[in-house]
């Protein structure tokens, strides 16, 4: 599998890109040229310059530094959301797909109910109900999105549960644990990889959306969506302000989406090595 990974250009590039971004986020205090909270009202909306590579915002804070510090909440929260959604979705999806009967009925009817709400509105509702804070944003996202994944993963599992290798395991009395985690889970890893990376992309956008609407990460914490929100105020007078956080979000989300596609190829053992 490692060999296949290193032979897949897209996978290597996207994973490296994400790792570099993550490293920059972790090393933010070292790499950022300025304190992201330091305001200098006299120097607001500065042009791109050597001292402020991406200029300054409406309070005179260094945009590049804020962008770098913003990686932490943006990427971190997105990964956390992804882990929560995929974890919950995979667990319930596999259970529904494998055990059938009452278990499936109960899980799938709950899923149906969850899916019958418009997801964005529900996120707002949950955040509004629980109060505006970072962990509520994550809870809301996980709460809304797990049903999608449970349903997709169940379909994946159902393809495999009647395969002969599962039948053999059941017939010779292998424990359910083995069947679930050694047969079924690996069989759907390629699906999971695609879902997970798409989910990160979705989570980044969603967290940014919430921050943009003022429901997520609160000022003055630097977060890309929140930065866009602040830039929006001056959209007509200083449209340049939008560019840095906007491009950053687009790049990262694109990267995750591409990564999902590439990982699927890597994880599929039948992909011929060229």
């Amino acid at each position: 599998m490692r060999e296949r990974f290193f032979h897949n250009r897209t996978a290597v590039v996207t994973v490296l890109f994400v790792l570099i971004i993550a490293m920059i986020g972790i090393l933010a205090p070292v790499l950022a040229p300025h304190d992201p909270y330091e305001t200098d009202i006299l120097n607001k909306f500065a042009e791109y310059s050597l001292e402020y590579p991406l200029g300054t915002d409406h309070l005179g804070r260094c945009v590049l530094s804020r962008l770098i510090y913003g990686i932490r909440p943006t990427l971190g929260l997105a990964l956390l959301t992804m882990l929560g959604t995929i974890g919950l979705g995979a667990l319930l999806g596999i259970m529904a797909g494998y055990f059938r009967g009452v278990v499936e009925e109960v899980i799938m009817r709950v899923v149906d109910v969850m899916l019958s709400f418009p997801s964005q509105i529900m996120v707002f509702a949950v955040v509004g109900l629980l109060g505006i804070s970072v962990q509520n944003v994550i809870i809301a996202n996980v709460f809304i999105k797990w049903a999608w994944y449970a349903r997709m993963i169940r379909t994946g599992v159902m393809q495999y549960r009647d395969r002969n290798f599962v039948q053999f395991s059941r017939c010779v009395g292998m424990p359910e644990r083995f069947i679930l985690f050694r047969h079924l889970l690996p069989s759907i890893t390629s699906d999971l990889a695609v879902l997970a990376s798409l989910d990160v992309g979705w989570a980044i956008i969603n967290i940014s959306t919430l921050s943009f609407l003022g429901l997520g990460v609160q000022a003055p914490t630097p977060e890309w969506g929140a930065m866009l929100n602040e830039a929006k105020e001056v959209l007509t007078s200083n449209p340049i302000q939008m560019i840095a956080p906007g491009v950053a979000i687009v790049l990262l989300v694109c990267c995750f989406n591409l990564m999902g596609d590439a990982l699927r190829d890597v994880l599929d053992p039948k992909e011929v090595e060229k």
């Binding site: 395969r163 002969n164 010779v172 039948k270």
Partner: protein
């Protein structure tokens, strides 16, 4: 040692006459049979005759509506321990070798699953590498196949790996659900020879489900004809030509031509 008593199986029909109807379609009618230790029973029938359903009943995956399955005098479906008893003693090889092995497992892991079953039962650790090598050797494959993936093997080789996996559990009975039907004629003979050899070496009991009469005459001691869910004939293979049953006769006549060919070829 394995006994089926008046087994009836039915499934809920997909299409019901009424919205809340409970029409069921019966697949097996009062099937009874008996397999003695060290013998080989062939179950013969055309598509849709209930062969595979019977296979599922035999290997403990499908509880019959009525009737009893007994292994060494212990009822299989009556209790959990009965099922465990069956799981310990029975192993299975399936028809469709393309889905018989997890495509993500290497050959050593596929066979390793059978070994795990044995480890759990005997409560002792096995030297896996050595066991896998000797099992591969037993089914006539080179030891370096252990590192291959299923898609890197041919059909016959993969079916041999599946047989090795079934044998790895150290079962007393092996159920072959059309295990050789999907192989080409030449490979079929090779695999059947292998099965014959294994049977003697390991003192196994075989149950052979197939639609191919030739392989039954080649391998089995008893034969059971299944027609539309009913046992129409149950007799030793040596007396197969004396059968009075209409369906069996028809089947025999349709195969006679091939039978002659086979004898000429061998």
């Amino acid at each position: 040692m394995l006994e089926l008593n008046q087994i009836c199986v039915s499934f809920r029909s997909e299409r019901q006459d009424k919205i809340f109807g409970h029409t069921r379609q019966q697949v097996l009618f009062d099937v009874s049979l008996r397999v003695e230790r060290g013998t080989c029973l062939g179950i013969l029938g055309e598509s849709g005759s209930g062969k595979s359903t019977m296979g599922r009943v035999l290997c403990g995956l499908l509880k019959p509506d009525s009737g009893e399955v007994q292994l060494d005098g212990v009822s299989v479906y009556a209790s959990r321990s009965g099922r465990r008893n069956l799981q310990n003693k029975l192993s299975v090889v399936f028809q469709d070798y393309t889905t018989s092995a997890n495509p993500r497992f290497r050959v050593k892991e596929i066979i390793g699953e059978g070994l795990t079953v044995r480890e759990r039962r005997e409560g002792s650790k096995l030297d896996r590498e050595k066991e896998v090598t000797s099992l591969l050797e037993l089914v006539g494959l080179p030891a370096d196949f252990a590192k291959r993936f299923p898609h890197e093997l041919s059909g016959g080789q993969l079916q041999r790996v599946c047989i090795a996996r079934a044998v790895a559990c150290k079962p007393e009975i092996i159920l072959f659900d059309e295990a050789i039907s999907s192989l080409d004629a030449h490979t079929q003979v090779q695999v059947m020879d292998l099965l014959r050899e294994l049977k003697e070496k390991l003192d196994l009991t075989y149950i052979f489900i197939t639609h191919d009469l030739t392989s039954i005459t080649y391998l089995c001691d008893d034969v059971l004809f299944l027609y539309q869910g009913r046992v129409t004939e149950y007799m030793p293979v040596s007396r197969i030509s004396e059968t009075q049953d209409e369906y069996a006769r028809r089947l025999l006549e349709s195969i006679v031509v091939f039978d002659v060919d086979e004898e000429v070829a061998v």
